[in-house]
């Protein structure tokens, strides 16, 4: 009788272990799905360059390494003089040049028929 009870206990313990395992997997799946949904809906997916397919090329990595970060920040306090503003404009000019150095971002002609290899419509064919 004792032996049967012991066997039943063991069986129940094994079943509970399986249930625990399945529960953990289910929770992991649900939380991962929620995370992915947030990642997608927030738009972070579109700027995540470590995403497969977006991985930077070797040259780009070198470029990034070459770019030295200037941690200049205009002070919120202190007297304002022409010299201070001159320095402000010089530093702002660095940022402006970096923006202008990016040639034609989101240029609309990139998606033109011509660029995508779609021929002009032939008359009477539409």
């Amino acid at each position: 009788m004792e032996e049967v009870k012991e066997k039943k206990k063991l069986h129940r313990g094994g079943r509970n272990l399986v249930l625990l395992g399945l529960g953990s997997i289910l929770i992991a799946l649900v939380t991962t799905s929620i995370s992915l949904a947030v990642y997608h809906n927030s738009g972070d997916i579109y700027i995540d360059r470590s995403r497969p397919g977006f991985l930077p090329d070797e040259e780009e990595v070198k470029e990034d390494e070459d770019e030295k970060e200037d941690d200049y920040s205009f002070q919120k306090s202190g007297t304002l003089t022409a010299d201070v503003l001159r320095e402000y404009l010089e530093k702002l000019d660095i940022e402006t040049k970096a923006i202008d150095g990016y040639k034609k971002p989101f240029d609309s002609s990139v998606l033109s028929d011509e660029k995508l290899g779609i021929p002009p419509a032939e008359e009477g064919e539409s």
Partner: protein, 165 residues
Amino acid sequence: MRRFLVVFAILVVSLMTLPVSAIAKNQEEAISDHCESIRNSLKTIQKNDAKARVHLGGRYETILSRFLVPLNVRLVENNLPSADLVENQNDFADTKVVFTNDYIEYQQNLEELVAMDCKNQPAEFYEKLVKVRQKRKTMEQDVMKMRTLITKQINAVNNLMSKVK
């Protein structure tokens, strides 16, 4: 007479609801034939756009948080508040948000376009392409507006320089 009118109305409604193809037959064929190469081009564009978004977004954030906001705070502290500079800071912050949201919308549409079956559905593919072009045009305008606001800031600070010692 009444029967004629009913038949006529049905005909008109049927004609109006017929799908109108905005694409010519030769274009449909070209899209089908070169589907893979068009999709590859779109993927390259997508990748370059992500790079542009990260690059520009970072610069815009730097300009806002390290130049525009601190200058206005310092101007107030020096009893020299400038309505133009405050307005420019607000416009810049607002346009930056618009730029971010427009980019998400544009990329969602571009991603849907890349996933489409252009081989078997060239007309639908082209229709989506036209939509993506409009979204991209909006992005181009956002970037131009941000650049205009930077120029406005530079001009305003130049004016300010003549007012201080």
